[in-house]
């Protein structure tokens, strides 16, 4: 249908220079990847050996975290290297294999911070190059032919998904949680680590007991620097409701003090003025002209160094101005002076109450959704990709390798997930969310290795694989572009449900005390904080728990529904 109308577009000549450019970039990328993966792996190895020898060198942070990713990148890069030989000879199959491999690479690199982002952007450039008409000529038509039945199946699946209410509800909840996590800075009224000590354990809906000091200007200068300590300083001041909603009279404070003596006894004269002007009107005027628009002024002179201006009680745009008029502007007073311009505002209402440190539950839940979803995403992605590669290779080649891999997974299956993760975190010795996710990655990969291996085994003997093999396709080509895409469905179901389980287990781990010691918002840790106050302040526990339950339930609803949809026995009726 669509592709028929598009085919004439592809009939332009293949550009061999573009295509070899793609090949070259890909080779360079493979080399960099080998280097990155190798360095990370060797670094981990070296660190490990140092540990054995009893040396205590602190490795750079990026080395410690990505041992598994390093290994994966090495494996994928080696496969890419092989397909790249085909790319150089313009074999269409090689192009589509490297297309899939590159997609894999992006997934792995995206879990690796800034470095990974840089590498992923190189992959994106390669993918764009692949899709340029000059290169597309060599492989696109065949690729579309290959994937047409697959695309059709996917369309049918989507149609079934739309008809299943529970799956739609689950997807809606997941989308909602993800957008809450992404929009956290806008939605949360407090920072995740904020503690308002006057607001300890307030019930839901309470206003705050404290008022917040906001700084408009803060100068804390020990050495004399005329650029920091200017003659005068001005800025536009837009008065909105947040300035006016204080429990006290809304006003702006100006304070000056001496940093050495810690007293107000500074020989200084600071004048603070507020004008009825916008900055654009203010700037071209002379000081004398400005005075006619003066709203209020206050001088901070010797021995009387804290003053305030009551704010106009309607919203509007003003300009504030500080003039530092010293009788003698010497280096001494300007070097040791603190000048502070500040206003008070109310803290926002605690919609879902506060915890025992005065942290706002509502905001902390929102910030925590970022942490928990990130843990779930990184654990599932890493476990999935490493497990899939290991399982596929072991299932495809069989023999001794397969036997070994299966015995190793047996051993991992001998531990319940939470207990093995506990032991790993304990051995690693660092209590942080990163450690938790590393432990869960190590715990989780065998599930996928088993699953993919089983699928590959059943797929390997089918006729179409036989056909591909007899037409001379390479092993990596058969594995990555024929077998793996056809084994993906149960893996997707498993991964979706695992998102829920990883969130549960990670929250459980941080609940029993493996999270970072202070501060960070995470659902399990919030419940851990609440458990000692469960009788007097149940809201500390109730809301974070509901967040976990709803999120995990959403993933399970989707996974369960998709399994029914993808099940060939129930599919077409």
């Amino acid at each position: 249908m669509d592709s028929d109308s598009q085919i004439p577009v592809f009939q332009d000549e293949g550009s061999s220079s573009l295509s070899s450019m793609f090949g070259t970039i890909q080779i360079v990328f493979v080399m960099i990847s080998l280097l990155v993966g190798g360095i990370i792996l060797l670094g981990n190895l070296a660190y490990f050996i140092e540990e054995l020898l009893g040396m205590t060198l602190v490795p750079p942070a990026f080395l410690g975290n990505w041992a598994i990713q390093g290994l994966l990148i090495l494996v994928l890069a080696l496969f890419l290297l092989r397909t790249n030989a085909g790319v150089m000879e313009r074999v269409p199959d090689a192009f589509s294999s490297s297309f899939y491999l590159n997609l894999f690479m992006i997934v792995v690199y995206l879990t690796m911070g800034t470095l990974g982002l840089a590498m992923a952007s190189i992959v994106v450039i390669q993918l764009i190059l692949m899709l340029l008409p000059g290169v597309r000529y060599y492989w696109w038509v065949e690729f579309v032919e290959d994937t047409k039945p697959r695309v059709k199946e996917t369309r049918f699946t989507l149609h079934l998904v739309r008809k299943s209410p529970l799956v739609v509800v689950g997807i809606a909840i997941i989308v909602f949680m993800v957008s809450v996590a992404l929009a956290a800075p806008m939605l949360a009224t407090y920072k995740g680590e904020d503690m308002v000590f006057k607001d300890v354990r307030l019930p839901p809906g309470s206003p705050s007991n404290d008022i917040k000091l906001n700084y408009l200007y803060y100068l804390n200068q020990r050495t004399y620097d005329p650029t920091i300590m200017p003659q005068y300083k001005y800025e536009e001041l837009t008065i909105t409701s947040k300035y006016l909603e204080t429990v006290e009279i809304p006003r702006i404070f100006i304070g000056v003090s001496d940093l050495d003596t810690k007293t107000d006894a500074v020989s200084v004269n600071v004048t603070f003025r507020v004008y009825n002007l916008t900055q654009a009107q203010y700037e071209p005027m002379t000081p004398a002209e400005r005075l006619s628009y003066l709203y209020a002024n206050v001088s901070v002179v010797d021995q009387n160094l804290l003053q305030y201006i009551t704010l106009p009680d309607k919203e509007g745009v003003y300009v504030w101005e500080l003039q530092f008029i010293a009788a003698y502007k010497t280096t001494t007073w300007s070097a040791n002076t603190r000048v502070v311009l500040a206003y008070y505002s109310n803290y926002p209402i605690h919609i879902w109450g506060t915890d025992n440190y005065g942290g706002d539950i509502y905001s902390r839940i929102i910030w925590a959704s970022q942490q928990d979803l990130r843990i779930a995403l990184s654990v599932v992605l890493v476990a999935l990709s490493s497990g899939a590669v290991i399982g596929a290779v072991s299932g495809y080649y069989g023999g001794k390798l397969d036997e070994l891999v299966m015995r190793v997974t047996d051993i991992f299956f001998a531990f319940p997930g939470l207990v093995l993760a506990m032991a790993i975190v304990m051995a690693l010795g660092v209590r942080s969310l990163t450690t938790i996710s590393i432990a869960l990655m190590i715990t989780w990969w065998p599930t996928y290795a088993r699953l993919v291996r089983g699928q590959v085994l059943s797929e390997r003997e089918k006729l179409y694989i036989e056909a591909a093999r007899s037409s001379g396709a390479s092993d990596s080509r058969i594995l990555f572009s024929h077998i793996l895409p056809n084994t993906i469905q149960p893996v997707i179901v498993q991964a979706t449900m695992d998102f829920g389980s990883v969130i549960l287990v990670a929250a459980g781990l941080s609940f029993i005390g493996f999270g970072p010691p202070v501060g960070t918002s995470e659902w399990g840790m919030m419940i851990a904080r609440g458990q000692n106050y469960i009788l007097s302040s149940p809201w500390m526990t109730l809301y974070p728990g509901l967040a976990i339950l709803v999120t995990a339930l959403a993933f399970n609803l989707v996974g369960d529904g998709i399994r029914d949809i993808l099940d060939p026995k129930l599919r077409r009726r």
Partner: protein
């Protein structure tokens, strides 16, 4: 294959797993962590440390250390735990804490089976009706339930709020009421001891009441898993030809379901039950912490907070062995129930 050969084959397959488990715990505590931490406590005098290092062979090459580790494990020397207050050998503590956890797990399991199998049958026989949807959502929320939170909420409602409202309420924690009853531990299983050795029915009933809430909390996930498995295997079985035959013979629905379908549908459920038993021990870590249950789980949590490596190592080993044994028994039962497995 005869049943005996089948069992022997399974035992042979289990041996590398057991060694793998030992190796992993060795790897974690000796290579990633600090091996010395297993054998010293804050109360160990500094002067004694070189002696311990030498006696434990921690100055030997790694290979030798590995075999020394295996050796000490097989001789019942699992390191020293400090979590209980005094320095105690890990194995002693494990033995002392074990019955409480097993009692709780068995109670949770009984509860999960007693509710899960009927729910699964109802859900399957009333497929796509209201009862089915309610059961499915109930089961799915069980799988997605953070049980540490569920326990806290149960405690808040059934213990605290009920007592606020003047209703009869369940106890909020512990194994029995320490003020009202005395217990002389013989086997460590409170229910057995109170009836058989102490002849104290009051204590027995009190203990049952204390078991209800943690048991329900711990069993909920297992209940959900059993319900789902029962439902799907029942649905599979109902479609089989022999069920159609039984129905066409004119047997009542009740006889068909309970006499013909149930027995075959139970086979996969038995597997899940066996595997879930290992999961229960894990769940006990979280549940016991909340209900102040003096078992393995709470001890493990406390040892985490105390950075007590020997205790964690011992706990991991024990749980892994329980898990392997449970899998093994499941395999056996499966082989007995379904001869096709043996010959397959």
């Amino acid at each position: 294959m005869r049943l005996r050969d089948f069992i022997i084959r399974r035992i042979i397959l289990a041996i590398p797993v057991v060694f793998g488990v030992l190796t992993i715990t060795w790897f974690l505590s000796y290579i990633v962590g600090d091996p010395l931490a297993m054998y010293i406590t804050e109360r160990t005098p500094d002067a004694a440390i070189p002696g311990i290092i030498h006696a434990r062979g921690l100055d030997q090459p790694l290979v030798v250390q590995y075999f020394l580790y295996l050796n000490s494990l097989f001789h019942g020397d699992w390191g020293v735990s400090t979590t209980t207050g005094a320095d105690q050998p890990v194995l002693t503590v494990l033995a002392a804490k074990f019955p409480a956890t097993i009692e709780l797990s068995i109670f949770a399991m009984i509860f999960a089976i007693a509710l899960g199998i009927p729910l699964g049958i109802i859900s399957a026989t009333k497929k796509d009706k209201a009862a089915d949807h309610i059961t499915r959502i109930f089961a799915l929320s069980g799988v997605s339930m953070p049980i540490f939170w569920f326990g806290l909420m149960l405690k808040y409602l059934l213990f605290f709020q009920f007592s606020q409202w003047g209703l009869p309420h369940l106890p909020g924690g512990d194994r029995y009421n320490y003020r009202a009853y005395t217990w002389h531990p013989t086997t460590g299983f409170l229910l057995v001891d109170s009836l058989v050795f102490d002849h104290n029915p009051g204590l027995f009933i009190d203990a049952i009441f204390h078991l209800i809430m943690p048991g329900f909390c711990l069993g909920y996930i297992t209940l959900a898993i059993i319900t789902r498995m029962m439902r799907s295997s029942m649905l599979e079985v109902i479609k089989e030809d022999y069920i159609t035959l039984a129905k066409s013979k004119g047997l009542t629905e009740r006889v068909v379901i309970y006499k013909h379908a149930l027995r075959n549908a139970l086979i996969p459920t038995v597997t899940v039950i066996g595997l879930a038993f290992g999961g229960l021990i894990t769940g006990a870590v979280l549940t016991e912490t909340i209900f102040n249950w003096p078992g393995l789980g709470r001890w493990a949590t406390n040892s985490i907070l105390n950075s007590d490596i020997a205790a964690i190592n011992g706990f991991t080993l024990l749980v892994a062995f329980i898990f392997v044994t449970a899998n093994f028994i499941v395999d056996m039962v499966y082989g007995v129930l379904d001869p096709r497995i043996r010959f397959g």
